[in-house]
Subunit: 236 residues, 2 copies
DNA sequence: TGAATTTTCTGACGTCGCGTCAATAATTAG
DNA sequence: CTAATTATTGACGCGACGTCAGAAAATTCA
């Protein structure tokens, strides 16, 4: 079942090596610093061989994004399993999102690059679907928690307001927040530090706005996060 | 005072022409479709002359962004002057933001491109400051409304929670929302249409979460927006 | 084992876009 | 009207892209 033909095995290994070489290049020197020639030189294969694996550098970038996107899915799934009320599980998701951004800041760079239409149009539909699917998986996990909350009567959504809509808001707030935090200088102009805490405060307020109990005023956030760290992610 | 030397005048005019030519190119063919050669050909000047105005294509993109960013500042300033309670003025801002995205969708493309570090590093600090400053101006306008709300006792923020922090949340939510709406396919996967209404609902809920009165449950949103359209933007 | 065949790898090649700069044309000053 | 200054041009060198004919390696078969 997991036995691949040694041929394919070797192929995959080399693919990993190419990605491993490409990652620091793009992290350090950005989109324009990454070139097929440079990868070929560093990985010590010819350009043609690299092209056998990836048809352009954008394809490499999305492959890097996929590696990391899978990790996020895992983090979200783990967070969703936190033993506690729906609202606390939501806090766990927030923590997972934050942890992900902290641990894999590169991902945001890849995502930004891949958002550009003229970049996106160069990558295979297959890989695009994989990233999209990762995002959908994450959102599905969160939607599940929203449904659980409704079932448990921790939350009542306005008529016609689907769980997906709530998740959209959370997603917009967090991804927008992380994007601003990671890129915009306007933040410091305005005297804000600690964007992560801020985002977490805002998601809490938004959920309060929906009346998702227990409200953020009724539980000890610090203690909850403490528990999440220990029980879900095994951090101290 | 507004008399520029005819030299400079002519210079400016040509700059406008270059930008006017570049805009549709990048809108249609994206970042990679835009090249100095192509601009030169279409504007019927030589490449060298184009380079006299803009030192690279990224510089042209940011110039395009600046044109549009100024419009947003104007929209926000106008919205802030809506005669009504602080909460309604906030709704007006939301409407302005939405109107801006509707009327100038290109701006998001430019912003996305300019967010990429390796692109950003190619543009002059001067122009970067101009865009940053536009963003800061917008946020300052909004912050002013928050302060007014506090002064009028429509809103009480938690201790240590500055108006700027609230604005950050609004900004994250709307810009994140618009970004997802404009790019991600995940939306339709999940069955969401009308992202604009959704964003507006979420901002309302977030403000409700802060207890900014009148709460969204206590006023007629449709009617308010109607008034805003007429009184602030003169739309029917 | 060794020749034949298939597969994989290679780097030179044509192309394109960038940014420069010496030469040329236009403008202004004297 | 000429000299000096300023503006414009496009050819040039460079680097990256993506391709492909041929070299090298691996595999098959007698």
């Amino acid at each position: 079942m997991n036995t691949l033909s040694p041929k394919k095995q070797q192929m995959l290994e080399r693919e990993e090596r190419i990605l491993a070489v490409a990652r620091p290049i793009i992290v350090q020197d950005g989109y324009h610093g990454l070139s097929m020639e440079r990868i070929a030189a560093e990985v010590e294969y010819s350009k043609g061989t690299i092209y056998n694996h990836f048809s352009c550098k954008e394809e490499i970038i999305i492959a890097l994004a996929i590696q990391t996107a899978n990790i996020r899915v895992e983090l979200f799934k783990r967070a969703a399993q936190f033993k506690g009320s729906s609202r606390f599980r939501m806090v766990a998701i927030g923590y997972a999102a934050e942890k992900f951004v902290r641990d894999y800041p590169d991902f945001f760079l890849f995502e930004q690059i891949l958002q550009i239409p003229s970049v996106r149009s160069k990558v295979s539909e297959k890989r695009q679907n994989v990233v999209d699917n990762c995002e959908v998986q994450c959102m599905t996990v969160v939607t599940g928690i929203v449904r659980d909350a409704i079932a448990a009567e921790d939350l009542e959504l306005p008529p016609g307001f689907s769980p997906e809509k709530l998740v959209f808001g959370m997603w917009a707030l967090t991804s927008g927040g992380f994007t601003i935090a990671s890129s915009s200088e306007s933040l410091r102009h305005i005297g804000l530090e600690n964007p992560f805490d801020l985002i977490s405060d805002h998601t809490a307020t938004l959920l309060d706005g929906f009346g998702w109990s227990p409200l953020s005023t009724d539980y000890d956030k610090q203690a909850t996060i403490q528990r999440i760290c220990e029980e879900v992610f095994g951090d101290e």
